[in-house]
């Protein structure tokens, strides 16, 4: 009798235990089961967007531009320059879509998280579970895109295979932060703000041309934003131009993931368990 009381008291007595039941897998599983009932064509279509961009810009602009110098001074064909950037962008878009729109509807209309938090699951389980589910989808897209890059001869080094974990890191960073931001949204028109942040990042982060075309102060802003670090990291890996400074890009995302997770967990607790 006493032991039971002690155990349950131990299980629920503040700290990490109150936030985390060690079962984010249940949330992932729920996502996979729910995905079965949604339209697979719509899910699959997300894969084609970067492919269309690559085909259009790689073929058409490649003729006009020729070779481009990467930030490490290597000359690569234009298609090989933009392909890794598009890979990083699709990781960002996929993660943001899953962690903002999907989470927003589950939070405000489906009331899904209230149900989950009424079970033994804690806010960190919910946050991690949702993020892992988003990563699975991102992994499928990224693998497909890497195969296409291989077929078109745009992977210039064996290190391109390391782009897969890199893409997961990028997606993890955006997903954990995206979910935290979503928890502040009250009406869905506010979601347009997200696009308003993503579009300039997409256009300016050395995606379609090196950032050296900008004046220094613009470069500094771009370098402070997360997508640029992702683009540089993936580009270094697929073109095989590795350098020690790439560890800074990794560190940037590790910090972003940490901050995002703490932030999201706190928000979920404040919203639902307060």
């Amino acid at each position: 009798m006493t032991t039971t009381v002690e155990t349950s008291a131990h299980l629920r007595s503040g700290g990490v235990r109150a936030l985390y039941a060690g079962n984010p897998g249940a949330v992932v599983q729920r996502g996979l089961v729910a995905a079965r009932s949604s339209s697979w064509v719509v899910v699959l279509s997300g894969f084609f967007e970067p492919v269309f961009y690559l085909a259009s810009f790689g073929i058409g602009l490649g003729v006009l531009i020729g070779d481009v110098q990467t930030s490490t001074g290597v000359e690569v064909p234009y298609a090989a320059f933009i392909a890794p950037a598009l890979l990083a962008v699709s990781a960002m878009n996929g993660a943001i879509y899953d962690s903002t729109w999907n989470v927003f509807f589950k939070m405000n209309y489906g009331k899904l998280y209230e149900g989950m938090l009424a079970t033994s699951l804690g806010p960190l389980d919910v946050a991690l579970g949702e993020i892992v589910y988003a990563l699975l989808r991102g992994l499928v897209y990224a693998s497909g895109f890497l195969v296409i890059m291989q077929v078109w001869g745009l992977n210039l080094s064996w290190t391109a295979i390391l782009a897969l974990p890199a893409v997961l890191l990028i997606a993890f960073g955006f997903a954990s932060l995206g979910m935290a931001v979503t928890s502040y949204m009250k009406v869905f028109q506010q979601m347009d703000l997200i696009n308003f942040v993503l579009l300039p990042m997409f256009l300016f982060s050395a995606t379609f041309y090196p950032i050296t075309v900008y004046p220094e102060w613009v470069q500094a802003i771009v370098q402070a934003l997360p997508l640029w670090h992702g683009v540089e990291l993936v580009r270094g890996l697929t073109t095989g131009a590795l350098y020690p400074g790439m560890l800074w890009h990794v560190l940037y995302y590790v910090v972003m993931i940490g901050v995002g997770l703490i932030f999201t967990t706190k928000r979920l607790r404040a919203l639902f368990l307060g």
């Binding site: 949604s38 339209s39 064509v41 719509v42 279509s45 997300g46 084609f48 967007e49 269309f52 961009y53 085909a55 259009s56 810009f57 073929i59 058409g60 602009l61 003729v63 006009l64 531009i65 481009v68 028109q189 347009d192 308003f196 579009l199 300039p200 256009l203 300016f204 379609f208 041309y209 075309v213 900008y214």
Partner: protein
């Protein structure tokens, strides 16, 4: 006694007819007015989008790529222009079609399925045909605002960033009209499709990804269409965006174009608009009769 009742019934009928006459005559405009007023709910999105998009795309793509593409672009007529000049008309037409895509998709389903206000219009003396035209006009008002804003912006942009103006003022304004026509050419068929949707299964996400995106990327937007191999170039030929962009290049920076080509581009856009409109009218009439 009975005659008195009849008389008052006649009088009532006459009175009802009198009250119905105005909406009967002006129904199209009442509907258009409703659509425009409803836009106030997301007015700031419209303003931010209308101002932000041209600024971002012109600075991001046109100026950034222009740093790599220093040689002038030779367009379809053989005229050489700077890269920004080449891209600006295409971005303007893209904006027109993008706004049309927003207005002629979910809002139409909304009127039939979610908030069902089209059935409300239909319960008044307003006819299904008037509802169709009214929706088209209301949405066109937003397209017009977006295109006119874009036009003014690239005009100023040309004055500030370009040695030569991006816009030829004498004929440039015609591009605004072409933009609206381009919006119809894509929007009216989309409206017909939207009116036929009974169950939302993500169809518009597919339209966005498999029709709008390829059209945007393969319509000679960022480089002359003849840079593409024939197995991709056909996407440009059938896309309203390419036809609108070619017209835009003619009117905006004064590219020399055969009169015959102008007629063909306009005829194609008009054809798409008319076919879309007729189909939309039919779908509206059928669905409102249910």
């Amino acid at each position: 006694m009975s005659t008195a009742t009849d008389a008052s019934l006649d009088a009532l009928r006459a009175e009802a007819m009198e009250w119905g006459r105005k909406p009967r005559a002006n129904g199209t405009f009442y509907v258009a007015e409703h659509i425009v007023r409803a836009m106030r709910a997301y007015g700031w999105t419209i303003v931010v989008g209308a101002l932000g998009q041209p600024i971002l795309y012109l600075l991001g793509l046109a100026l950034g790529l222009a740093a790599l593409i220093t040689v002038p672009i030779t367009d379809a007529s053989g005229m050489s222009v700077s890269y920004v000049t080449f891209v600006a008309p295409a971005l303007l037409m893209t904006a027109a079609i993008q706004v049309a895509t927003e207005e002629f998709s979910y809002p139409v389903v909304d009127g039939f399925k979610w908030r069902r206000f089209f059935f409300g219009f239909s319960a008044s003396p307003i006819s299904p045909g008037q509802i169709t035209t009214g929706v088209l006009l209301g949405a066109s008002a937003r397209v017009l605002v977006a295109v006119a804003g874009y036009y003014l912006f690239i005009w100023l942009f040309g004055l500030v960033f370009q040695p030569a103006p991006l816009v030829t003022p004498e004929t440039g304004w015609i591009a605004i009209l072409v933009g609206v026509l381009g919006g119809w050419a894509f929007g009216a068929p989309l409206m017909a499709y939207a009116a036929s949707i009974e169950e939302d299964k993500g169809q518009f996400a597919l339209v966005q990804r498999f029709i709008f995106m390829p059209m945007f990327l393969f319509s000679g937007t960022f480089y002359p269409l003849d840079s593409l191999p024939i197995w991709l170039a056909w996407i440009g030929w059938i896309s309203p965006l390419w036809h609108a962009t070619e017209l835009g290049r003619t009117f905006l920076y004064g590219r020399p174009t055969e009169p015959f080509a102008i007629v063909v581009h306009i005829a194609y856009l008009v054809l798409l608009s008319v076919v879309g409109y007729v189909l939309a009218r039919r779908h509206f009439a059928r669905r409102l009769a249910k």
